[in-house]
Symmetry: C2
Subunit: 354 residues, 2 copies
């Protein structure tokens, strides 16, 4: 943390909004992290600069060929303290994403230190209301002006910050899910297990189709057999079956969520039995029919836990736990967010205090 | 063609390079086409503006979530005339791509007319040497400053132009191909059949791996069974087997190449038997072993035809047609490029003269 980072001061600061009325991902803070990559010098020393538009070539490789990856994490306020949740995991995963797209890896240590400095500078932007946080978006994209398909020579790496309200104002709220039988999100050998730009654009049409039918998210099946449960929207998925917590085993097309990983650790710590399995959609359907599946929820940084109240499988609707938040979701959610906000003890060493 | 388009004149024009020494996709002309989309006004009337950098938000949706699609076509010079090859097909396919990524469709008619005006203005940039052309790159991407995963509200649509030399200075040259058994380019239900940015970034690592082993391109197998031949690099693929021309049948994960489609038409016109089939890689391997497969070549706008001289299948190398350009590739290439450059009659109505 000792490192000093160059800071270019903003001429004037923005007025801070009432975060409770702000739409997710639309308001950004006064500063951003910035570093550029050239083959000659690698990643230049990062600097903190006023939040500003990027000037890029219309031939920028990242726009045309999608060499573009990102991360998402949050900073939470507890009194005067700002808490980060496992930020090292995000930079580690950023490098996994970069490697898969043949992009230059970033220095995780330097990134962490620069993020701490940025958060210190923007401390007043971290909102303190229930469920509120400062969303942190690191991203790297190719900016070489070149229209050939190969790894680009130059890149930009930025971190921008956006104050956000809780998904449900800090309250859990069950959603309706559509099991997608036609569109495919990812396949083994592809890029489903990294956070690259292209995955998200490819998912939107299925999401729109589900929305038109009254469902809020899509449940994705595997790309090979279209039978095995993978993810829900941009979240990992958990089930409670016979009081055991089940989540799909990582298989090369599922994103390895940090919330997923942390919930598994927390649940085991709390005495739950947790199983990572290959889950056939028909097995899930049978479990909903016979009542052995009592809860379903998504997991991700944005909402932490998103309970599923209704699910459409092969043209039939199933109500999950009377469309109510289940006891396991509730228990894990309150413990997990309690750790994130510093209200509960952190026996795992997940929290970085700034 | 009657429509007038607003042109913002450049203050000074660039010096035109010696195209024979220019690297593909690195030099751009003086002007570009530009149009913006808002939900209130749809696509604004396009204008032609000096080639310039784009100023975009660091939160631009297209960078983070990959709502970004493109096209590629070429203008050829014949004396004083400039010829375009089936430009309507490119704008049609652009709309297919836009639809799949839940982006607003463009007006094909308006786009065509604007392109004609742009080419008129940049006529002197169309190089006249053998194999040379002006590469045309229409592209659309989301520029809304918003970090949520949904269809963006605002978009930019641009067309940029780049003078290019022939891939082989107008001469065909056989390449070595590696059949990829691990990485997957596309799967049915996904986005392999459109020209979206994410597909290309996802393909680079396999390409690098092949290059390290001494191969120039990857042959992609289907994403479900990893057994059926789909494409080669960013090209479609053709075989000559027992004097018949074979190409994989479109299946939802193969891009519908305009060169592929046009070569099929041209070959049938010239009396070849053409078959679109599902081709098992073992079948291809057997055909190379027993000599029934006598030629293999890729097809695409960039190189038109790219003969394969060597192919590695399941760890074994096969030489195709003595690593020489085959008679069918040669015949189709010379006829096809003859039409493109206006040296041969165009019985199909493919050429637009400007
Ligand atoms: C596709 C996808 N799956 C799962 C997740 C959940 O990951 P995490 O828990 O690290 O936020 C995310 C993103 O946040 C995602 O984009
Ligand atoms: C993946 C892919 N396949 C095939 C092709 C060939 O298409 P076309 O003949 O229209 O250039 C292209 C692009 O040009 C492509 O990007």
């Amino acid at each position: 943390m000792g490192q000093t980072i160059q800071i270019e001061k903003a001429v004037s600061l923005k007025e801070k909004p009432d975060v409770s009325t702000v739409k997710f991902g639309t308001v950004f803070t006064d500063y951003m992290f910035s570093s550029n990559y050239t083959p000659e010098h690698g990643w230049e020393e990062p600097s903190i600069v006023p939040y500003q538009n990027l000037e890029i070539s219309p031939a920028a490789n990242g726009i045309h060929y999608g060499q573009s990856v990102f991360e998402g994490l949050k900073a939470y306020k507890n009194g005067d303290e700002v808490l980060l949740f496992r930020p090292d995991e995000n930079f580690k995963r950023l490098n996994t994403s970069l490697e898969r797209l043949a992009m230059p890896k970033i220095n995780e240590e330097v990134s962490l230190n620069a993020l701490y400095e940025l958060i210190k500078l923007e401390r007043d932007w971290v909102p303190g209301g229930p469920g509120q946080s400062l969303y942190i978006r690191p991203f790297v994209f190719a900016d070489e002006a070149f229209l050939g398909v190969r790894s680009a020579r130059t890149y930009q790496y930025n971190i921008i910050l956006s104050p956000v309200a809780g998904y449900y104002g800090g309250q859990l709220d069950p959603t309706a899910i559509y099991v997608e039988d036609d569109f495919v999100r990812a396949v083994r050998g592809g890029v489903g297990d990294i956070k690259c730009a292209g995955n998200y654009a490819a998912s939107i049409l299925a999401q729109q189709k589900a929305a038109e039918m009254g469902y809020e998210q899509v449940l994705w099946l595997d790309g090979v057999e279209q039978k095995y449960v993978e993810e829900v929207g941009s979240m990992n998925i958990f089930f409670v079956r016979n009081n055991e917590l089940i989540t799909p085993k990582l298989n090369g097309s599922i994103l390895s969520g940090i919330t997923r990983k942390s919930l598994i650790e927390l649940a085991e710590y709390k005495g739950y039995t947790v199983k990572e399995e290959r889950i056939h959609i028909d097995e899930l359907q049978a479990g909903l029919k016979d009542g052995s599946v009592t809860e379903i929820f998504g997991s991700g940084t944005a909402a932490v836990i998103s309970p599923v109240g209704r699910m459409r499988i092969h043209g039939e609707d199933y109500v999950v736990n009377d469309n109510q938040v289940g006891p396991v979701a509730e228990d894990l959610y309150s413990h997990y967010t309690g750790i994130q906000y510093g209200h509960l003890e952190d026996p795992f060493g997940w929290i970085v205090r700034i």
